[in-house]
């Protein structure tokens, strides 16, 4: 009965506000009241290292709680343009104050990470997608655990450890953490304090410097034996740069216990390429692939591959043909602009693929 009334009220409201959603007006009062798009207000920014910050967010309506280890895509407007990037949640799920925390490491040339760490202000509004990812402890909370992290790969693991700690679970865990230098090591102090409070938690830190990892610090069976003799008996979570993951995967595979290794890869960074580059174009919705030489528009390539995408002017003025970019880069043949962000809308009649590209078409 009550839900019926609510539904009718919502329908009535939607007709009054049509063709816009009711949200378009509700947002004028408070952007967090939107129910179709989840937004959050920045309530606190804590500097973790010179290049990393934890950002406390108060999500508005539409937020669903997360599991420790998951990430969210955060959308921010930088110089007028919406950017979305995934960041691990470092807060305990379902906090009493309803807030969540992400921890961001500013990477060189990273537009979004530098904005979040150095320019974001308390009170700013960001956009959130629902929590995502299966890098979670699942049913292993009370198993013997091993965590291996590199750089900002510590963030999902910090979320897990805080959650175990808050649940008063007696930790049986070892954490091997790599960072370039001690002052670059996010959460090192908190992890050391955790090791003091939990006799079953061991924290080992290795400073790798900025270049390639020194041989004596590299992840090898021998080093694992030295730091955590029963490593092969532990469920292991690893998050960090690709070489670290590759080393671990090889070790666990040769030990025949790959199923005990849970890994989280950093999103590959999509770097804009300049100039023409051949590659494979994937049209995801139609399941068609076709080669591109980097000089001809995507619309022509699609048509030659037997598709008939919606289009109009074929000269970049009418925007009938826009399609969402899933991955890769495209080149605007009119002015040489590159688009390379997931979710970018591409005018396929005037855009050529730049290397491998996949489109929601």
């Amino acid at each position: 009965m009550f839900t019926n009334v609510l539904e009718r009220t919502a329908r009535f409201g939607a007709t009054l506000s049509s063709p816009l959603p009711v949200d378009a007006f509700v947002r004028l009062v408070d952007p967090l009241w939107s129910s179709t798009v989840c937004r959050a207000r920045v309530t606190r920014i804590m500097r973790e290292t010179p290049d990393a910050a934890s950002i406390v967010l108060r999500p508005g309506r539409g937020w669903e709680s997360h599991q420790a280890g998951q990430w969210i895509a955060v959308g921010v407007d930088i110089d007028g343009v919406r950017h979305r990037r995934p960041y691990s949640l470092t807060s305990v799920p379902e906090r009493v104050d309803g807030c969540i925390t992400i921890t961001v490491q500013a990477v060189p040339d990273g537009v979004v990470s530098n904005f979040l760490v150095h320019q974001l202000q308390v009170g700013d509004i960001v956009h959130l997608d629902p929590p995502n990812g299966d890098f979670t402890l699942g049913s292993h909370s009370s198993s013997p655990l091993l965590f291996i992290t590199g750089g900002s790969g510590v963030t999902p693991v910090m979320g897990m450890l805080r959650t175990l700690d808050a649940a008063n679970i007696a930790l049986d865990a070892v954490h091997l953490h790599y960072a370039a230098s001690p002052d670059q090591a996010i959460f090192a102090d908190e992890l050391r304090r955790l090791a003091v409070r939990h006799s079953g938690f061991g924290f080992k830190f290795g400073a790798t410097g900025t270049g390639p990892i020194p041989p004596e610090l590299a992840l090898t069976t021998r080093r694992l034996d030295a730091l955590c003799p029963d490593w092969s008996a532990r469920e292991t979570w690893i998050c960090g740069p690709a070489p670290l993951l590759a080393a671990a995967e090889a070790i666990w595979e040769s030990a025949g216990i790959s199923d005990q290794l849970h890994s989280e890869r950093f999103q590959p960074s999509l770097t804009a390429t300049n100039g023409t580059k051949a590659g494979i174009v994937q049209f995801l919705d139609s399941g068609v692939e076709t080669p591109g030489d980097g000089t001809r528009p995507l619309l022509e390539l699609a048509e030659e591959a037997g598709l008939s995408p919606k289009h109009g002017c074929r000269m970049g003025i009418c925007h009938t043909c826009v399609v969402r970019l899933n991955s890769g880069s495209v080149l605007d043949l009119r002015d040489g602009r590159i688009q390379s962000d997931e979710g970018d809308f591409v005018q396929i009649c005037v855009s050529a693929p730049c290397g491998d590209v996949s489109l929601e078409l």
Binding site: G80, C313, G316, I317, H319
Partner: protein
């Protein structure tokens, strides 16, 4: 000759590749291929300049216009609830009229052109925007963005030349039906949103058998659905919410819709029909280069001079020339482009048509009246 033309029409959009430059036909601007290429290059440079520096200030602008428009709409509707008191009714109707004008012109029309797509905000995007008008957005984007903006003022291709009911050019055939066109124009102006909605159904194409009835019926169904919702909102639900004071609300909403219709009609007719604006034949656009397309946009459009508020209320279509050159650049930048475009046009001897509203609109009225008669 006639059969060749109709074959061409059936091959749909035969747009010439951007790079091709051939002068088979004299371009209406009188420029040769090299001059057109140079002119096009200068226009491309202007476009790239805006693209390279559009940013937060532009995003702030459209966010502000949207916020003002929504507040005006809410305030206007609230004031109309107290519309039994004349000052409230006048204020309410004025605010709601302004809100509807802003929504259709500076926001809806321009968002649907993709002017704000670069912000990557899914809520202010050409693929998602639905405007406060009985015309469904997808039909508008076809008839306007695709047909009108590609084939600007080409008789027989651009269906905006007279909208299929008015005779604008002496080259359009005359019949006795044209005698009544001052009346048709007045009716069209009053009911403009319905004219806009029915425009893409292309009833004359259906009658000529060039478009299927099934396609036209599907479009009519979409118009009926959206139009029904618009009517329900403005003429049933909001008045009903006022209870015994439903009449002032109904009258206020009707006034707002009519004011918006008259305003949009006037601005849009001033864009392409004043004296001095050229119309073209299909031969004019054979093998047209990008530079030629640019030059045709200038020849086929007219600007209206006015204050900053006037420009915003016109959706910056007062800068119709700049809008036709760069339909997907943010409208708030047309004003700064206008003097630059004008200087380049003067350099190339391309007429740049810019006059006051009264002069442009006066010449439109005279044209509609004159073409009601033969010749």
């Amino acid at each position: 000759m006639t059969s060749t033309l109709s074959v061409e029409r059936e091959t749909d959009h035969t747009i010439v590749p951007i790079t091709t430059l051939r002068t088979v036909h004299q371009h209406p601007s009188g420029l040769d291929a090299d001059e057109l290429e140079a002119f096009g290059k200068l226009m491309d440079d202007l476009r790239n300049e805006i693209i390279s520096n559009r940013g937060k200030a532009d995003a702030d602008y459209i966010h502000r216009v949207i916020a003002v428009q929504r507040r005006l709409e809410v305030a206007g509707r609230l004031a109309l609830f107290a519309g039994v008191f004349p000052p409230f009714w006048v204020a309410g109707a004025a605010m709601l009229s302004t809100a509807k004008i802003l929504e259709n012109m500076e926001i809806g029309h321009n968002v649907m052109h993709g002017q704000w797509d670069w912000m990557r905000d899914p809520e202010i995007h050409s693929s998602t925007w639905e405007w406060d008008n009985v015309c469904p957005s997808d039909q508008w984007k076809h008839s306007h963005n695709e047909i009108h903006h590609t084939w600007t003022n080409v008789i027989g291709r651009d269906r905006d030349v007279g909208y299929g009911i008015l005779r604008i050019d002496e080259r359009q055939p005359w019949s006795k039906v044209a005698l009544g066109q001052p009346v048709y124009a007045a009716v069209l102006a009053t009911l403009f949103q319905w004219g806009v909605a029915l425009h893409d159904v292309e009833i004359e194409e259906v009658m000529k058998g060039r478009k299927t009835k099934v396609d036209a019926k599907a479009q009519l169904a979409a118009i009926a659905k959206k139009g029904g919702r618009q009517l329900l909102k403005d003429y049933v639900l909001f008045p009903a919410m006022a209870g015994p004071f439903f009449l002032p609300v109904l009258a206020g909403n009707l006034t707002a819709n009519v004011v918006r219709n008259l305003w949009t009609f006037s601005i849009i007719f001033c864009g392409h029909f004043p004296d001095g604006v050229e119309r073209f034949t299909e031969e004019d656009v054979v093998d047209e280069s990008r530079g030629g397309w640019y030059a045709r946009q200038v020849l086929g459009s007219a600007n209206i001079e006015g204050s900053k508020v006037f420009h915003i209320l016109s959706g910056n279509l007062s800068h119709q020339i700049e809008h036709h050159l760069f339909p997907d650049l943010p409208s708030n930048r047309y004003g700064e482009l206008a003097p630059k475009v004008r200087a380049i046009c003067e350099q190339y001897g391309i007429p740049y048509n810019s006059r006051s509203f009264s002069r442009q609109f006066g010449s439109v009225i005279r044209r509609i009246a004159r073409r009601a008669l033969p010749g």
